[in-house]
Symmetry: C2
Subunit: 327 residues, 2 copies
Amino acid sequence: MTEPQMKEKNLVFAADLGGTHLRAAAIDDSGEIYHRLKRTTPESASASDILSALVSAARECEEQTREHGVVGKASVAVAGTVNISEGTVLTAPNIPSLSGFRLAQSLGAELHKPVLIENDANAAAVGEMWQGAAQGVRSSVCITLGTGVGGGIILDGKLWRGADGSAGEIGHMAIEPFGGVRCGCGSQGCLEVYASATALVRMVRESAAHHPDPKLPGPEDLTAEAIYRWARGGNELAIDVFKRMGVYLGIGLASLVNILNPEMIVIAGGVANGWDLFSEHAIEEMRQRAFPLPASRVVIKPGQCGDNAGLLGAAKLAFNGSPAVGT
Amino acid sequence: MTEPQMKEKNLVFAADLGGTHLRAAAIDDSGEIYHRLKRTTPESASASDILSALVSAARECEEQTREHGVVGKASVAVAGTVNISEGTVLTAPNIPSLSGFRLAQSLGAELHKPVLIENDANAAAVGEMWQGAAQGVRSSVCITLGTGVGGGIILDGKLWRGADGSAGEIGHMAIEPFGGVRCGCGSQGCLEVYASATALVRMVRESAAHHPDPKLPGPEDLTAEAIYRWARGGNELAIDVFKRMGVYLGIGLASLVNILNPEMIVIAGGVANGWDLFSEHAIEEMRQRAFPLPASRVVIKPGQCGDNAGLLGAAKLAFNGSPAVGT
C-alpha cells in the first residue's frame, strides 16, 4: 500500500513593487499565500538593482515553497503605468529608474518563466474581487488611498484597463479644479491631493499653521498614522482633517457613481485604516450628490485584503491567463 | 422568366422621445432611415397621450414603409432613466408623466410587437458607434450637449449600462462642487450647469448683467442658437461664454480620460454645433490636466449623426437583441 500523495499545487510568484516596499509571496489558485516577504524597495537609480531584488525574492519564495508546489509564472504589480502586452513599465513616478524598462522580459530571462506585469491599483481591485470585499460582485471600483490615490475598475467581472492600460486613475479626477492644490500629475485639485496620506499630513500642517495646537508633535513626526491616533484620541484638528478628507472623497465617489453605476466601491490602502473617521462623511456627501437610484444601489466598504490586495490580484491575473511575456 | 424580387427588409420602428420633440422613423439593419418624422411631445400630464403619439407615429411609419419591408420590433430612446429588462421608465424629469410608466409593455400591447426602451443618451452613443463618429472604435464616450448634458459609455464595443441602467451620467460629474451653480439633480457644480444650452443662456445673462451690451437682444430671445450666431458675428461676450463652457467641458473630459482611458470622446447634441467656438478650449484644458498617455490617445470629435443619433442607436439595440418586452 502506498502513502496518499499530496497533490502538487500550481503556484504563482507574485510581487507588489511600490515606491517604498517590495512585497512578494507564492500564491496558489485558491488564494492561499505562502512565504510572504516584505523588503525595502532599493533606492538606487538603477533598474538592475530592482530587478535583482525581484529575482532574489522570487528565488527565495520558490525555494521555501517547494514542498507545496511548483511556481509556474511570475506576476508583478507595479506602482506605475504599464504596457501589459509588451511587459514594459511606461512611467513610475516613485520608482523613476523603471520608466521605459522591459521588466517582464528581463525578469522572465532571469527566472525562466513567463512574467506578467500590471498596475498596482488595478491588481488590488482584482485582489479584492477575488479574495476580499468585492467577492461575487460584477462591477466594482477599488480606490487605494495610500501615499497617492490609485484606482481599479472591474466591469462585468473583468478589469477595465482602457485603450492603453492606464484606466482607473481615480485619484486624478478633478475635485477642485479652480484654485485647488497642485498635484504631482501636473493638474490641480485632483482627488489625490485631498484624500491621500500625503494630503492628510498637508491639511494638518495647514490647519496647525492657523490654529497652533501645542498637543500636536512637530512636523517631523507628522504621519497619517499619527494623525489617525490623535483623531482617535479626540484631537479636534485631526478629526476635522479626516472629515474634510471624507467630504472630498465623497464628491469623487458621487461622480463615479453617476458615471459608472457600480455595485460596489471598495476603499483600500493604508488610509482606509481610518475608515471610522472618514467613511460616514464620504458616504453622506456621495448620497447628497449622486442620483438616488445608483446612490442607493452602491455598497461602499473598506478593503479586506489589506497589504495583500496587490499580491493576490497579481496572482489571480496570472491564473486567469493575462498576457505574459518571455521565458 | 420571373422579375427579380426586391428582398424585403427587416425594419425597426425607432423613436426618440425627448421633453420637447418626439422623433421617429423606420430603420433597416444597414442604418438606412425611412419616413422620418418629428412632432412636438404632448405637453399634457398624461402618459396615455404620449403613448398615443408613439402609437400614431409607429402606425404612420409602418404604413409608409410597407414597400420596403416589415417592422418587426419597436425601440424607444427616452429622456430619462429606464429599467430596460422591465421596460419601465423610472424617472423622466422633462416628461414627468412617464415616471414609473410601463412604456414597453403598453406600447407592445398596442403595436403587437416586442418593444425595448433605452436612455436617450445611451442610444445616441450606440448610434454614433454604428453610423457616426465612433465607427470601428472599441471604447468611446458620447457626451450629448443639449438642454442638459447626457452621456453614454461604450466599452469593448458594448454599451455600459451599469448595475441599474443608469450609468453614463457624465453631465453630473462635479466640476465645481464648492460654491458651484445649483443643478436640477440636487447637487451643485455639475458639468451640466456649465456645458449645456441652458448653461450658455445663464452665463450670457450673468455676464450681461455685469457688462450690459446694447447689441444683445432681450432675455426673451436668448437661446443657445442666438448666442452661437452672435459669437460667429464677433460678439466678445458670446465668444467668451463659449470659451468658458469649453474650459469646463475640458475639465470633465480630463477626468473621463483619466478614469476610462477611452479611444474616443464624441461630442453630440445641439450645442455641438458650436464646435468651432468651444472645442479648442476644451481639448487644450483636457490636455493640460489629463495624464499624457491617455490624453494623447483619445480622439475628441463632434458627432456625425445629428438628431438621428438616438433613433439610430435605438434601432441598433433592437437589431442586436437588447431585452425587449411584450408580445
